[in-house]
Symmetry: C6
Subunit: 232 residues, 6 copies
């Protein structure tokens, strides 16, 4: 089984090479933990290495995402390498919504078309919380179950961004947790009385015998660095 590299040095090694292809990975963390930037960087680096990706941004306009990420050091790529979709694309699709079709089927067609046209292999959704805000779930556990199934059938290795409450690294049991193949946790943690830093760890990765410990995370101007802290 092939692996998808995160291109975060040190962290790929901790995963035993990367994320098993075809996995659905949750990127969970509180506000301000650079979840979007992390996921974007994974798709960006893989796109530059020949694996095209589809980044669905429900939180910001596609144009804003691309521009802000460029300012952080990730140059704009052509759409056949990294295609950023936003709410406007959804609105178009949802306008065609027929009575008998549910939202999962609509998104399914939309993504399927994108895959057929662009051959995208990686998928990112930023974020689950906004999906919950715009879609009215009747039975969240069951619908999310089928949504994840749909992503897998399209052949994606998928990253779903999930926001946890500020200051609460513990996640309450949510359906996306047990439906995921992997969980990567991003946290702000307090250093001394007044400092705050970022750290990450891989909580879960099916089919891999990975390290579960923490890495200090930093953005050095064009990429993430993950440093394994010395045990105190």
């Amino acid at each position: 089984m092939a692996s998808i590299r995160t291109h975060v040095e040190g962290f790929d090694r901790a995963l035993g090479g990367g994320i098993p292809e075809g996995s659905m990975v949750l990127i969970a963390g509180g506000p301000g933990t650079m979840k979007s930037t992390f996921v974007y960087s994974v798709l960006h680096r893989n796109a530059m290495n020949g694996t095209p990706g589809l980044f669905v941004s429900l939180e910001q306009d596609a144009h804003d995402v691309v521009e802000k990420m460029a300012q952080l050091g990730m140059p704009i790529l052509p759409e056949d390498k990294l295609y950023v979709m936003d709410m406007n694309h959804f609105r178009l699709a949802l306008r065609d919504k027929e009575k008998g079709k549910d939202w999962i089927k609509i998104l399914s067609s939309l993504f399927e078309e994108a895959v057929r046209a662009g051959g995208y292999k990686l998928f990112a959704l930023d974020s689950l919380e906004v999906l919950y805000a715009i879609v009215t779930f009747k039975e969240i556990r069951r619908e999310l179950f089928h949504f994840v199934g749909m992503l897998k059938e399209l052949g994606f290795t998928a990253f779903l961004v999930a926001e946890t409450p500020l200051g609460e690294p513990v996640r309450e049991g949510r359906p996306e947790d047990f439906l995921s193949d992997g969980i990567i946790l991003l946290e702000q943690f307090h250093v001394g009385a007044m400092g705050v830093q970022l750290r990450m760890r891989c909580v879960k990765m099916r089919g891999s015998h990975h390290d579960r410990g923490y890495f200090l995370l930093d953005w050095d101007g064009d990429k993430f660095l993950a440093t394994k802290a010395i045990q105190q």
Copy 2:
């Protein structure tokens, strides 16, 4: 992308210059953390430097706000520089409410008119809690999503004041958290057995590589001072 300065010394530097233009920033904190004064000061200082602002006060009368802020050292400005709206303006608008229009559309027209007339660039709402008290949300996640979208379409850099419970710096996951581009947290924290001081930190700011640590916050008679505490 241009930045809006908070004019709080030290803090703008921590943000890498200021708040990216067009952002929606949450000013969160418990009661008594000077959230309103902080936001007012940002609009007041920018107004004096040529960027006019619209301050919507749902908690107090416009007249009281302007007078209390003047007493704290921020002189009254003409309405084309800093326009303070209160409930009375809303009542007028809501009286015109037609059947087919929802509250977001009404506020939208109201703000749009203000922008056309005064060219306001900054926007503040004090506070989300009172908005929740007077508007009956049917689906809070979805409606807030569209409310934020409306503010962005009007071109505002927006500040939404959100009150967290007293003594509880942790925010439970609320829709305004993941819809915001930035979160600035204001806290009262206990010093020794009997003392209490103010501190602030930037938890999140999209498109900026900001410091996440705490600043001691003080009002020196006409402006805020943010001091980076030495790590203990």
Copy 3:
């Protein structure tokens, strides 16, 4: 803007002179923190200095309140100085309740009449919890919002007593918190293994640059003393 003194020595100084006239102040604390006595003493001292007050007791009979307070050292005053209303006054008013009138309008008329007759400037309600017990709120946030607005329109500087759970100094976010101009917190706190004392602090006071720290609170036989603890 004039101030209303609490006549608690040291504490008025911490408030920068007193409570800004026209404010709505929450007196919050667990059972046994002398909230009622504190508020009564503020109205009593101001009444003796020429500012008449209206004390609405929903928890005890007016007669019991006046007598118990006299025993604690605050002599009975004539009704035009300090008028204590209890449930009996409300029952009368509520009996006249017509279909189209809601409880806020009834209370409003009742208080308005009292103000016209006696010129009362200060107002106290003891307590919000009993108000919640006898009034059926349909939408508590919205109705409380209008209740507070009514008190302000009558020109009152108002004190609302709010009971927090025993042993829980932290208040969960409640609508009265963000609707108030000020919050004064009274707490029992544990000293050593078996002792318990009272302390108070001003959490919030709009338009005032107040001290936020704790004061030890004691009743010396006819008045409160607030001592600023030396920092340990």
Copy 4:
């Protein structure tokens, strides 16, 4: 205003003589904190000193209560001194229940008759939890408010036993808390790794300037002893 002594040595002194006549006092504590025995002993000692009492036991049969208390050292008294009512008395009364009468009116008649016949001055209900189990409250805050009012109109000094969860000395805000004139708290607390003892404190007592600290509580064979612990 006269006082009712608890006849617990040391504790009456802490209350400034006893409990103000006419008060409604909550006796709160977890399971196994001798709440029932404490309240029974107050009524028993006062009965022996000429103040007759009415003890309503919803948890046990009247006969069992009297016998168990006798075994603990409190001899059986004639009914005109200490009258123990149990569920059987209620069943009788409730059988007569007419359509238009609610449970508060029925209890009211029952207690009123007892007062007229026996001149009882003290009242105890053991416990509120069982009252909640057998009465279907529609609006608990409002009904409890009127229930307490009824007890006061009958001239009782009343003791209501309220059970808090095991191991949780903190009470969540419940309507009986703010409706009471006094709260006496009984707790099991852990001593060392494996020991457990009893302690009590007066949290609240309207119209009294009482001590708020803890007392160790022990039953010495026929009465309670309350020892003021030396501060560690």
Copy 5:
């Protein structure tokens, strides 16, 4: 009043001889605290000493219970000494269920018949949680109140097994707590970083002046040993 011995050495002494006859005792503890084995052993030892018991197992088949307990060192006894009923007996009874009869009446008849036939004095139900799973309570507080009353009318000294959440020695206030005459708590507690042991304590026992401290609990092959830990 006679006592029922638990035959757990040391523990009977702590109870002042045993459990007062006719009591309803809750045996509460998390999963894996040997609640069932403890209750079974009490009935088994008493049965061998001439007091026959009825053990109702809703969690396992009667045959499995008897056999597993025999393997733990408690030999199988004839049904007139220790009768183990399981779900199959209930199914029979529930099949006869008529419209007008509720589940409490059905169980009542079933147990009454057993008492008439076998003269059982002790009763155990394992567990309340499964009772809740198979019976649909409309008003749990009221129905449990009558269920306990029924057991008492049949003359039983009754043991009800109640499961608390894993790792949470604190019980949230549940109706079975205040309806019980006694509560015996069984806990797993952590010893050092990686060890776990069993301990028990009597939290409550009406009509008895018992020790409230902890005992280490161990099964030595055919009986329980309760050791009073030396205070550290």
Copy 6:
């Protein structure tokens, strides 16, 4: 009563030989605690020793499970030894669903057929959470009660995987807890400031006098090792 070995060295000894045949054992743990791998390894090792098993994977495709487990060192076995069923098998069965049949009866037929055909003795369900996601429970306690009964009637020794929230070793009281004969807990625990390891313990095992302490758990390339930590 025969035992089923887990083939995790050291741990079987702690269980007194293994898991009593016919038990229903819960394998509980947070995300990333190798619950699926642990259960699969138990069925795999027993299958190689002649006891065939049925592994029901609701979380992943049967093919993915088998392949990922092979990569972890457990070679693919013929279906008569270890049969892995996934959602596709269920879909087939559910398509035949008739009106009068509920989901438990459908699963029952499906498993019964498998037992008749393959003589499977061990059963695993991965996981309860996904079962909850795809089945609409009306009364979860009652239905789970019957589901467990069905598994027992088919003669299975059954393993149910249950996911607990991340970072929360404490399980809130859930129906599967008191319905199970055994509970094995898997946890990630923090070592020093930045490290995370796995540990396990047997919380409960009916009919066995087992060790309750923790074992460090590690996967050595083709099997689990459980090390009893030295007490610190």
